[in-house]
Symmetry: C2
Subunit: 313 residues, 2 copies
Amino acid sequence: MAEKVTAFAPASIGNVAVGFDMLGLAMDGVGDRVAAERVDSPGISVANVYGLDGEIHPYLSSDPDHNTASIAAKALWNDYGDDAGVELSIYKGVPLQSGMGSSAASAVAAAVAVNELLGTPLPVEQLLAYALVGEQYASGGLHADNVAPSLLGGLVFCPPVLLPEVVRLPVPTGVSAALIHPELQVNTAHARKKLAQGYSLDQWLSQQGYMGGFIAACASNDIDLIGKTLKDVIIEPQRAAAVPCFAAVKEAAERNGALGFSLSGSGPSLFALCRDHDAANVATAMEQACRGMGIDCQSFVSTMSARGAHIEE
Amino acid sequence: MAEKVTAFAPASIGNVAVGFDMLGLAMDGVGDRVAAERVDSPGISVANVYGLDGEIHPYLSSDPDHNTASIAAKALWNDYGDDAGVELSIYKGVPLQSGMGSSAASAVAAAVAVNELLGTPLPVEQLLAYALVGEQYASGGLHADNVAPSLLGGLVFCPPVLLPEVVRLPVPTGVSAALIHPELQVNTAHARKKLAQGYSLDQWLSQQGYMGGFIAACASNDIDLIGKTLKDVIIEPQRAAAVPCFAAVKEAAERNGALGFSLSGSGPSLFALCRDHDAANVATAMEQACRGMGIDCQSFVSTMSARGAHIEE
């Protein structure tokens, strides 16, 4: 068995507009890495957490009880580990509190790395429960809409009522995601606490109608129907005001042909689904709109079939 | 063009447990017939409404402004009719206020018959809007969960937010519907008025999770997942008490292997989805449980790909 492995886990778009707490989409090319190395000291420890600049991360803790990666790794180690230990090095590629599933990516990468170091006692699907333990520490709730796509890739339906079972949805061909991350921070746990706890029957039926239509549209590759259904009438109206550039970026996305647009997770990141050939233009237009309001940002474009977490050679 | 045609439109299961107001399933072998005949007197008239026994129906009106069939036919005639008229004869095969989509079947059959008499100016999908005008008279709301499957057959997703567009869902193979109609009546419009208007976030997320999972399960033919998701945690708890045999019939269905069970529409009919080879047993057991409580009933078994409304030769 290997003595040291590195796992990559992608960023992800939580909720995907229609499926609050139950739908998530993996992103190509941006994610966290966790290196796991066998050591003599027992249990899980964290050597260092590195930021995007390669330096020691200024905020994230290397206390193994206060980091989603090590919390996930500890849960797995408790069930399948041995008398020795594992030291993690965490390389953050996903910005913190960005709405891009940063805490989930670390938890997933750690679970995948430790599982590999143990000789893969578990199939990937069964790592979900362990990654969720880490995610729950960060977000305060049992929702898998970042962990599941980060682990499995693509578009994953993961309603709390079915966990730990999740459903990989068919991904429409010809559709890409464009995302911008404005340089703002939104704390997911705080954002959750501010949500209204009661909804009218009409609100509920509208959102359920959009979600069901979106799932059916993905299954039948009906791109027009994706455009008609990718709407959040429940959560987005409560959260959009926390992202000052929301309206301007949405207008830019729609003007450039986006099929639908919303917050990624609780924001501040904003995403659009687009026809493949529109995605680059939409990303550029969203970036310009955001910068036009004096807010710095980065943009990303991804297929809808991004690969899930995996060991890097 | 024909001078007289007869259309058949099947009964249907509204809501299908997971999709209140937005999901419906057509039933094989039971439905309404509407004969439409050209006459000189202008506009739409109703010759007679016949009951299940072949006699003049004791309750249903032949006033064309008070019958779902003629109301649907009038709406279509107003847009595409000529100076002459059409006389309808309505043959009820679906019991009234049964939760089997009786009013919808009449409205659909009338729209299909009149469209045929006019030389089919409209494709079948576009008849939905006209049939809905009739259904709306009976039920008081704009919901297509009986009209859409009765018109199109099979399993149809028809959320109010997408109307008049509806989505035909893939139908899982190997799954049948078993339904019993206890000899009780539930008025749909009254049943709607009694529903709570507010729901908690948790309730909403649970039901949305079940519905999304069910749609995904149908698309991927995952029968186990159908069993895990065919649940109504929102509406059924409010309506089950109106059907005294509900609990006994549910227990009988589940004991005989039903994948899931609920009210058909607002009841009193009760349905289960089952593996094909269990369907007859489940129907028999449900009937016995209902009769065991002193309530007479009929049972029906149907594939999930029942044919929609059509002209009979």
